[in-house]
Amino acid sequence: MQSKSRFLQISTASEIILHIIFGIVALACLVPLWAVISISLSDDNKIRQIGYRLWPVKLSLKSYEFVLAQGAAIVHAYGLTIFVTIVGTILSVLVVSMYAYILFRKDFKYRKFFTFFGFFTMLINAGLVPWYIVCVNVLRLKDTIYALILPYVMNMWYVLIFRTYLSMSLPDSIIESAKIDGAGEFTTFFRIVVPLVKPGLATIALFAAITYWNDWWLPFMLVESEKLYNLQYLMYRVQQKIQYLAEIASKISLVSESPLKDLPAESARMAMAVLGMGPIVLAYPFFQRYFVKGLTIGAIKG
């Protein structure tokens, strides 16, 4: 952003008012995160007596012990989510960038056809029912790992963003000179184009990685086997299950000693949320920078 010193600046009073407003907004963005962390670090019995608090009550790591002792499921879900995110992101970047590249090649006769072919899918969306039936009955994706990857690989929005990026940062003459030097199309693409457009590829990769990491929708629709629960979907299931277990526990504990009585339901619930968002929150300052760049390119010429 250019220096504003040459221009009239806002008054000190306005500046202070803005800081107060944005201070409140910033708190509104951070407090929910802080609340979840605090509850996860609190003693469960105390929480059950006084309710959730915005600060840790009787600091305790029991909830994390409990969640990690449930162990296998969450470790498995983490592994699965990492795997799906890596494979999905690589495939997505590869497929999207190649498709965008042929749309970028002005000397390719069929590029108009392929543009329309992809673009048409952005105009009309068949909707959930036909999509579901195709995934289950035609593609047989139900309860397979492919169900967690394939539906998100091709994304016409990313194609259009990346094509714009290519036409802004890649002169046609580079392709021509590669041709004259006798390079094949794939050599040109992977050896010459890809190294030149790494920032654009990184932007697409981040978009895709976030989509895969935060996805709960695909297992929600297409997965039954617990082996294929990814992190977000496991969190969704745990939320429901804890609610259910806690209800049973509160009834049983009146009657007799029960193993469920010690279930640290409330703090464990939030520990689960902290574990689920952990990596994305830690990586987000880095992601944010790239997103802002990507969005800026997109906004200037959409």
Partner: protein
């Protein structure tokens, strides 16, 4: 005739032969588009069929508009249409206003470091999944333990509220949640446009003695308006589609709230998976697709009239 056909095909074949690697590059994308976008389009006929699983979709009998008749006779049809349209309308209006105000304020702020900080913090919610956001909301809204019911309302001398059973607060909660999650993201788009404004406009205004407020009103906002129009029209093009996570995860699928949280997307899901009523679900799904298609075409037409550069096609 046959001759013409031949030269056309040989033209394509020659092209295929000449640019085979380029076709090969398009292939994975084409296959995936066919699988997840084109094949489902054929499934739109399900809306006009009485599907018997044993017969398969193609052999199931046609029933004309029966499925639509059933759907529009239910009270649900009105509720889900109303909810989908009104919420999206509110998101478009409040979302853009909040994003524009944020972007202008951040661009004018003198303390650059703090402006960057606010921008980063406001961007954070965009990275959280709706599942995580639902957990966060639960920490505040839980009926017996939530922060609102145990800490804040008693201090204000108010009775606790059964948040997951009380419909009244939900329109506000859903709109706030939407603003909370997306304002930081949308503000960046407007911020990019503000940064692109030629500084000479401001210099000229300064010479004419325009106050900061006048500069915002007569330079920044008018120059942003094409972008605003485009984003609003694109939003209208998608007004029949709802953010499933927001409407399903955040209210925790609470049946007591359906009157104010059920939108076309969640209705279709529940009818398909919960009630297994494929006829009704596909009729609703078809209704959504067609209305969506018409609106995308219309809003693009309008965008093209206003600013051909910004039109999608």
């Amino acid at each position: 005739m046959a001759n013409g056909q031949r030269t056309y095909r040989s033209g394509f074949l020659r092209e295929l032969n000449k640019n085979f690697p380029l076709f090969l590059m398009a292939l994975p994308g084409v296959v995936l588009l066919i699988a997840f976008s084109y094949l489902p389009l054929f499934g739109l006929i399900i809306a006009f069929k009485d599907v018997h699983y044993d017969l398969g979709i193609l052999k199931s009998p046609w029933v004309g508009f029966k499925n639509f008749e059933f759907l529009f006779k239910t009270p649900d049809a009105f509720i889900i249409t109303r909810n989908t349209l009104l919420y999206n309308f509110a998101f478009i209006v409040f979302g853009n206003l909040a994003a524009i105000a944020t972007a202008i304020a951040l661009s004018e702020m003198r303390a650059r470091f703090m402006a960057k900080f606010y921008q980063s913090v406001m961007f954070l919610p965009y990275f959280l999944s709706w599942v995580v956001v639902a957990y966060m909301a639960f920490a505040f809204l839980s009926i017996d333990l939530g922060i609102l019911n145990t800490m804040i309302l008693p201090k204000l001398g108010l009775q606790p509220i059964a948040w997951y059973f009380e419909t009244k607060p939900w329109p506000v909660i859903l709109i706030l949640a939407n603003l909370w999650k997306y304002t930081g993201y949308n503000a960046v788009i407007y911020l990019a446009a503000i940064t692109g404004i030629d500084p000479e406009y401001y210099e000229a205004a300064l010479i004419d003695g325009a106050s900061k407020w006048q500069q915002i009103r007569h330079i920044t906002i008018p120059l942003l308006s094409p972008l605003v129009v485009v984003l609003v029209l694109l939003g209208i093009g998608r007004i029949f589609y709802a953010d499933f996570g927001l409407f399903y995860q955040l209210p925790m699928n609470s049946g007591a709230l359906f009157d104010v949280t059920n939108v076309i997307d969640t209705y279709v899901y529940r009818t398909l998976m919960g009630m297994n009523d494929i006829g009704m679900a596909s009729a609703a799904s078809f209704y959504q697709s067609i209305m969506g298609f018409i609106l995308v075409l219309t809003s693009n037409l309008i965008v093209r009239r206003l600013d051909p550069e910004k039109a999608l096609f």
